[in-house]
C-alpha cells in the first residue's frame, strides 16, 4: 500500500488516498476548490477589468488636446464593460449641469452612485444602472469590487477635473501675460535655466532681430557685454532672496549687427509653464546715459571752474572791475560766484559809490544768463506816473500818446537779468505789481489784454536801510523777502582801507596816468580820509588830482605832483584848464619828435591810440 503514487496520497496524512471513505468528502472539497478557483478567477477577471477601466481613463486624459467633455464621455463609455453584466449596464456622469451617458441609457432603481468631489465639495456624480433585476450580491446586484471601482473612478475624475481646470487657468493667464507683454514698450524676455524661452516684439526690435531670427533658445548672457555680465549675475543672485522685489542693473547689450546700446534690465521672479523663471524687462537708456554723461561732464567742468575760482579767491585782489583784497570784498566775490550759480534773486546793499552796479553786472556775467541782456532800471530816477509803463510796456494806441508798441524793461530782460537799482525807491503799488510778475512769470502790457511772458532774473540794489523801511511799512514784507534771497553787503571804503592803494593803482592805470605816483604824504591822506562817497568819490578825487594837480579833500589841500616830463607845463606853472595844459604838452611832444606819432606816444608814455584821439580832439596838425 505504501507504493501509491504521491497524487493518490492523502496529502494530510501522507497515507493512501482513501477514496472510498473520504471520497464524498474529498469530492466535495474538490468541487469547493474548483468553485473557489472559479470564484477567484472571476474575481481576478474583475480586478483586471477594474485595472483596464482605470487604465482606459488614464489613456483618455493623456491624449493631447483632449477636452474635459471627451474625458467624461469616454469614461462613461468604459463603465459597462467593466461591470459584471455589461449587457444590462448603463452609466451616467453628471457634472455641473452637464450630463454624459452611455447609449442606451435608462434610469432604474438598481443603481450604484459615487460623488465626484473637488476641494471637499460635491461637483458631480457617477451612476451605474442595471436595466433589469439581477441576482443579489454584496450591494444589491453589485459586487463590492464594483463599489470600489466606482469610487476609484469618481475620485479619479475629481482629480482630472481639478488638473484640467488648473491648466486652463494657467493657459488663460499665460495668454493674458503674453498679450500684455506683446504690447509693452519695453523689451521682455523670459528666461528659464539661462535659456530664453520667450521674447516680445520690442525685445526683438531692441536686439535688431530681423525676419525669422529668433532669440528664443539662445542664452541671455550672450547678448550682454562681457564686462557687464557680472552685474547681471549679481542682479540675478539678488532675486534669490525671497524677500526681495525686483532687481535692476544697467548693462551694455549688443544687437545682431554688433551695435552696442546701454540698457536698464529689470529682473523679476515669475512662474512660466508651471516652473520658476526670470522675466527680464529691457529698456534702452542710451539717450539717458548720454545726457547723464554730458551733465556729469558739464557739472564736473563747472565744479572744476568753481574750485579754480575759489582757490584763486584766497589771493584775489580783484573781480573784474571790482577791486579789493580785504576780507569783506573777498566775501563779496564768493557771494557773486554763489549768486551766479542759480537764478535766485539778489539784493545788494551798500552805501553810494561802493560799486553795486558793478557787482550786479559781475553776477550776470558769471551766470548762465551772461550772454543775454543785462537791463538796468534806475527805480529812483523814473517818476511813478511812467514807471509802470517803462516796466511793462504798452500797446499801440493804449493812450493818446502811443503811436507804436513799447516793450518795456521786463520784456527786454527776458532770458537775461533785470537790475533794479535803488529798488527801495519803488512805491508800494509798484512793489505789488512787480511781485505779481515775479511770482507768475507773466504780465500785461498797458492796454493789452493778452499776457506776455518773461523769464528774467532779478538783482536789486539799494543804499537805504531796507530793514528799517520794512518795519516802517515803506517796503512790503512779501516784496522784500522775494528779492532778498541772496543778500550781498558791500562794505564802505573806510571799512577796508587796505583796498585804497589797490584802487588808486587801478584807476591810475585806467586813466593812462601810470606816470603819476601817489606815495608818502599824499597816499597817507588818501588812506585816512573817510570817503563818504566811497569808491566813486575816490575815483573823482583822483581824477581831479592828476588832471588839475590839486587834491581837494576836507582838511587837506595839497598841490599835485610834478609831471615826469618837463616842458611847456613846467614853464606854465600856473593854473590852466586841464585841456589847455594837455593840449600844450601833446603839441610840444609832437614838435620835439617831428610829428613821429610812435616816438611821441612813447615819450609821453601813453598808448598810440590815445595820442591819435588827443590829436583829433585838439585838432592838432603839423602846420
Amino acid at each position: 500500500m505504501s507504493c501509491h503514487p504521491p497524487w493518490r496520497r492523502d496529502w494530510k496524512t501522507g497515507g493512501p488516498l482513501r477514496l472510498h471513505s473520504t471520497m464524498q468528502k474529498d469530492l466535495k472539497t474538490h468541487v469547493q476548490i474548483k468553485e473557489d478557483l472559479a470564484a477567484k478567477t472571476h474575481a481576478l477577471g474583475e480586478r483586471v477589468k477594474e485595472l483596464n477601466c482605470l487604465y482606459g481613463i488614464s489613456k483618455l486624459v493623456d491624449q493631447p488636446g483632449v477636452t474635459l467633455e471627451d474625458i467624461l464621455q469616454g469614461t462613461v463609455n468604459l463603465i459597462p464593460v467593466s461591470w459584471q453584466y455589461p449587457d444590462v449596464t448603463c452609466a451616467r456622469i453628471q457634472w455641473r449641469n452637464r450630463s454624459f451617458q452611455t447609449r442606451p441609457f435608462q434610469e432604474t432603481r438598481w443603481r450604484q452612485t459615487a460623488d465626484i468631489i473637488r476641494k471637499g465639495k460635491t461637483e458631480g456624480r457617477v451612476e451605474v444602472f442595471y436595466v433589469k433585476a439581477m441576482p443579489r450580491l454584496d450591494e444589491g446586484p453589485f459586487l463590492i469590487e464594483e463599489r470600489r471601482l466606482l469610487d476609484a473612478i469618481a475620485e479619479r475624475l475629481g482629480k482630472v477635473i481639478a488638473g484640467m481646470e488648473a491648466e486652463a487657468r494657467n493657459k488663460q493667464s499665460e495668454i493674458q501675460y503674453r498679450t500684455l507683454v506683446e504690447s509693452v514698450m519695453d523689451g521682455i524676455a523670459i528666461l528659464q535655466d539661462e535659456t530664453i524661452q520667450f521674447v516680445n516684439p520690442m525685445f526683438r526690435s531692441l536686439l535688431g532681430c530681423r525676419g525669422s531670427d529668433r532669440p528664443e533658445g539662445g542664452d541671455m548672457v550672450d547678448l550682454i557685454a562681457p564686462s557687464d555680465r557680472e552685474r547681471f549675475f549679481e542682479a540675478r543672485r539678488g532675486l534669490e532672496n525671497p524677500l526681495s522685489g525686483d532687481a535692476v542693473c544697467e548693462i551694455r547689450c549688443a544687437t545682431r549687427s554688433g551695435d552696442i546700446f546701454w540698457a536698464e534690465a529689470r529682473l523679476n521672479r515669475i512662474q512660466w509653464n508651471g516652473g520658476p523663471a526670470v522675466s527680464v524687462m529691457l529698456k534702452d537708456i542710451t539717450d539717458r546715459r548720454q545726457k547723464e554723461l554730458e551733465l556729469r561732464r558739464e557739472s564736473d567742468y563747472l565744479r572744476e571752474q568753481n574750485i579754480q575760482l575759489r582757490m584763486a579767491m584766497k589771493d584775489r585782489y580783484r573781480f573784474g572791475d571790482i577791486i579789493g583784497k580785504s576780507p569783506g570784498m573777498r566775501t563779496v566775490y564768493e557771494l557773486i560766484i554763489k549768486a551766479a550759480e542759480t537764478d535766485a534773486a539778489v539784493l545788494i546793499r551798500g552805501e553810494s559809490g561802493t560799486g553795486k552796479e558793478l557787482a550786479a553786472k559781475a553776477i550776470h556775467e558769471q551766470s548762465r544768463r551772461g550772454p543775454r541782456e543785462f537791463v538796468t532800471v534806475n527805480c529812483g530816477a523814473i517818476p511813478e506816473t511812467i514807471l509802470e509803463r517803462e516796466f511793462f510796456g504798452h500797446k499801440k494806441g493804449a493812450f493818446t500818446g502811443a503811436d507804436t508798441d513799447i516793450n518795456g524793461y521786463i520784456d527786454l530782460a527776458d532770458q537775461g537779468t533785470l537790475f533794479l537799482d535803488e529798488v527801495a525807491e519803488l512805491s508800494l503799488g509798484m512793489q505789488v505789481k512787480l511781485l505779481r510778475v515775479l511770482d507768475n512769470g507773466y504780465f500785461n502790457p498797458i492796454g493789452d489784454s493778452r499776457e506776455k511772458r518773461s523769464d528774467f532774473r532779478v538783482v536789486a540794489a539799494t543804499n537805504r536801510d531796507v530793514t528799517h523801511m520794512v518795519n516802517q511799512g515803506r517796503i512790503r514784507e512779501d516784496f522784500f523777502y522775494r528779492i532778498d534771497v541772496v543778500p550781498i553787503h558791500i562794505p564802505p571804503l573806510r571799512s577796508r582801507r587796505e583796498d585804497i592803494p589797490l584802487l588808486i593803482d587801478h584807476y591810475l592805470e585806467k586813466f593812462d596816468h601810470r606816470c603819476t605816483r601817489i606815495r608818502g604824504k599824499v597816499m597817507d591822506i588818501f588812506s585816512r580820509y573817510d570817503w563818504p562817497g566811497n569808491v566813486r568819490e575816490l575815483q573823482n578825487v583822483l581824477h581831479r588830482y592828476i588832471t588839475l594837480n590839486q587834491l581837494d579833500l576836507p582838511g587837506a589841500r595839497i598841490k599835485g605832483p610834478e609831471p615826469r616830463f618837463r616842458g611847456a607845463a613846467d614853464s606854465a606853472n600856473h593854473r590852466k584848464g586841464l585841456e589847455e595844459v594837455e593840449k600844450e604838452i601833446i603839441a610840444d611832444a609832437l614838435k620835439r619828435n617831428r610829428w613821429h606819432r610812435g616816438k611821441t606816444a612813447a615819450m609821453l608814455n601813453i598808448p598810440q591810440r590815445t595820442l591819435y584821439r588827443k590829436i583829433k580832439k585838439y585838432r592838432l596838425n603839423p602846420a
Binding site: 541782456e373 537791463v375 517803462e390 499801440k396 500818446g401 502811443a402 527786454l412
Partner: protein, 121 residues
C-alpha cells in the same frame, strides 16, 4: 534846470520848449545830431529830450557820443516807431524813459518835476 531839446520837427520842438519854460527851466533846441553834440560840448545840461530818428544821425549812434561828453545827463528818448531791437539798443545806454511819439505833455512835466525834486533833495 537846463534842458536840451533834440527834435527835427519844428512844431514838436517848439511845444516842448514852451513846456520847459513854463516849468521854470531853460531850454535849448537842436534839430540835428551834429548841432546837438556841439551844444553838449559847450554847455552842461541836466536833461535831454532826444528824438531817435534825426535827419543826420540815428539815436543809437549818438548816444555813445552823448554819454562820452556828459556822462551824467538824463535822457528821455522819443520815437515815432519802435521795434524790440531798437528799444533794446537805446535802453542799453541808460535812458531815463523811452516814449512813443507824440509825447504826452503831462508825462514830460511829471518827469521834469521828479528830476528837479530829486536834485533839490
Amino acid at each position: 534846470m537846463n534842458v536840451l531839446i533834440v527834435e527835427d520837427e519844428a512844431g514838436s520842438a517848439e511845444l516842448l520848449e514852451v513846456l520847459m519854460r513854463s516849468c521854470g527851466h531853460t531850454a535849448v533846441r537842436a534839430d540835428t545830431g551834429k548841432s546837438a553834440l556841439t551844444a553838449l560840448r559847450e554847455t552842461p545840461f541836466h536833461l535831454m529830450l532826444l528824438d531817435i530818428f534825426l535827419p543826420d544821425a540815428a539815436g543809437w549812434e549818438l548816444l555813445p557820443l552823448i554819454r562820452n561828453l556828459q556822462p551824467d545827463i538824463r535822457i528821455i528818448a522819443m520815437t515815432g516807431r519802435n521795434s524790440r531791437e531798437l528799444e533794446r539798443k537805446i535802453r542799453s545806454y541808460g535812458v531815463l524813459a523811452y516814449m512813443s511819439k507824440p509825447i504826452e505833455i503831462r508825462d514830460i512835466r511829471a518827469i521834469v518835476h521828479h528830476i528837479s525834486q530829486k536834485q533839490s533833495s
